[in-house]
Symmetry: C2
């Protein structure tokens, strides 16, 4: 037996594992043709309307909506675990201020792994406990990294606040309005989970050696960091700012399409209809823009959307979640550098759920590569090399 196939003719295999099944899952379901996203079977619209980040996290992790008592206990556990050690703040302070924020977040979660006495325990019970710790501490890490980068004083978590409100509080020192809290909560819900994407896949590849959940989440953060995965919302917002006024939109879009340039925040691998998350966010982007008395961004965005749907909607290209999230963040005074860390902080719930789900069906990932190199080279003494 050999590990690698060996072929001399052009090789045909599923690049990027497109279409290849790697696991079973009951966490989320996407019907891209019809713009449907279900968390544990429940439509995202119902969840965004009625639930909150804490309850949705419970749903994703445990597979069912919590009873009142279960939710109270879960919420209390999250609140109890929000604090991060001063040693971690010291580590975060060491990074250069202009370093990519995801280096800081990846290192911080990795660092926490070394301090959890249960890190090496891969029982479901231990992993649920560790998931709660990771999810609870993640916003504290993201806010501390942001605050330290901006040269300000770190604001400790406030256990009287919800996850969403506390995050905005730690980012600014000011308690958010009810509207701000609701919008932040919704954005966090919408980013919790989205099937077998690259970062989620990397978390299960790592756990498949029975490493530990911190290693798995660290891999996922590193994978999300790439511009092909996280980061599109930042580029969408930059585009909106670059366009500047509504009157410039048509020409910008037509030029971009003529030159085959990508319009950021449009099109999605799986959604060939309107991304249901974008639909929800668009409403919040509108209402928040009104509250702020600043309609310039949303007007440009909606004009881009209108022209794009007119031009390429027939090809299944619609706004995705990234198109409106950057605009919402900017109205919440969140710096662009923190967009991908916030994505990671919410997605940590989905990652933890996938890690635990994969452990129940665990098989170590050991694919093959197609060998295209030499098989008959030899060591040549250094003086005889060319």
């Amino acid at each position: 037996m050999s590990t690698e196939a060996t072929e001399k003719k052009p090789i045909d295999f599923a690049r990027g594992l497109e279409g290849v099944h790697v696991a079973t899952t009951a966490i989320s379901w996407i019907d891209g043709q019809n713009g449907v996203l279900l968390y544990r079977g429940i439509p995202i619209e119902e969840i965004a309307k009625h639930s909150n980040f804490e309850e949705t996290s419970y749903l994703i992790l445990y597979g069912k909506l919590p009873t009142k008592q279960q939710l109270e206990e879960f919420d209390a556990a999250l609140k109890k675990n929000r604090e991060i050690p001063d040693d971690l703040l010291d580590v975060i302070r060491k990074f250069p201020k202009d370093t990519h924020s995801m280096h800081v977040i990846r290192t911080a979660i990795s660092f926490l792994g070394g301090f959890d006495p249960d890190a090496e325990d891969n029982t479901p019970e231990a992993n649920y406990e560790k998931s709660i710790k990771i999810i609870a501490k993640f916003p504290t890490v993201v806010a501390a990294a942001s605050i330290i980068r901006r040269g300000l004083e770190v604001i400790p978590p406030d256990s009287s606040l919800s996850m969403a409100a506390n995050f905005l509080y730690m980012m600014s020192g000011e308690k958010p309005t009810a509207e701000e809290e609701k919008i932040m909560d919704t954005i966090m819900i919408l980013h919790i989970e989205h099937g077998m994407n690259a970062s989620t896949f990397s978390s299960i590849v790592t756990i498949s050696t029975l490493a530990d959940i911190y290693s798995a989440i660290t891999s996922a953060i590193g994978t999300l960091k790439g511009p092909l995965h996280g980061g599109a919302n930042e580029r969408a917002l930059r585009m909106i700012k670059e366009i500047g006024t509504r009157d410039n939109v048509r020409q910008y879009v037509e030029n971009a399409l003529a030159n085959k340039q990508k319009i950021m925040g449009f099109g999605h691998r799986v959604y060939k209809a309107y991304d249901p998350r974008a639909k929800i966010l668009r409403g919040y982007a509108e209402s928040l823009s009104k509250s702020r008395g600043d309609m310039s961004g949303i007007e440009i965005a909606e004009e881009i959307e209108k022209i794009m749907i007119e031009k390429v909607g027939g090809k299944g290209i619609f706004p995705n979640v990234d198109f409106y999230s950057g605009l919402v963040y900017s109205h919440l005074n969140i710096p662009m550098e923190d967009f991908t860390p916030i994505f990671a902080m919410a997605r940590s719930v989905g990652w933890c759920a996938h890690v635990m789900e994969y452990l129940e069906q665990n098989r170590i990932f050991r694919p093959r590569a197609v060998y295209v190199g030499s098989k008959d080279a030899h060591y040549v003494p250094i003086d005889e090399r060319k």
Copy 2:
């Protein structure tokens, strides 16, 4: 289109991606049936006999043996980049002394990513430079983590020494003998690369989003940490110590086989013949045991091997590289906690080579999962839940 297949009957797919091709590669070739391992086409026996870690690293990274000048430049670049910042030593000192050493190593390499001004540059040129930095600093990180865990003073790298000799020097404060240096160098060569295993795969999954090479290597370290991947040599050495004397071997092995317990360091996914790396290491384990005047471990190991081959050799179960490496490390006074970090430090060469090779054929990894959950659940108010 939907992202997930939906099946109610038992689902058949390649678990662990067994047999699935994920990339093309020209880095190494394994013929497990015949016990063959080639690095860039050259048999591992020739490399172990004639080359050294630096030259082999060049071969793996650049695809060909270096000329004298190329090797001198490469070696000088490695030497120049061995030092690690004091800030990183501070981070390492923060970890509890009893934490799993791989948490420390994973965090340290992640941390370094935040300090490389070229971290986000994914051109081949930049990635070769970063690979050299990672490979050069890795032994310094591993030795510092070991020394700090043992409560000793960190020993800075000595640029007059080879990679292998310098590593042993940083681990002990004493310059190694020529025999010790040669053996360490050989172990490092033998661990540089081994095809598309789980850790290597995780590095290409991470880079596939165009993240950065530090993120990719961090993922690989986390993945190697799992006991199904790294760590077998530690368990093999523990077994040898537990058996205690040669006279106990037959009964131990027969009991283990009767009870279907695994004999550590035997059998390998791909090798159904004698692992060529184990064959090389066995010779060094013998000679080093003689030099040390302590034959107890090697006698037990060789007796285990003899009985195992007698009993199960016909089934293709032979010693693998882990069976003798633990014994060699113990004669080099290397603590067990450092076995997997040393594996990572040598394998970083292979990881970097695979990351760069994958970038040339890049496609983001986005496989599918088979959806087995509900599609018609609804949000239920909290008071109505059971």
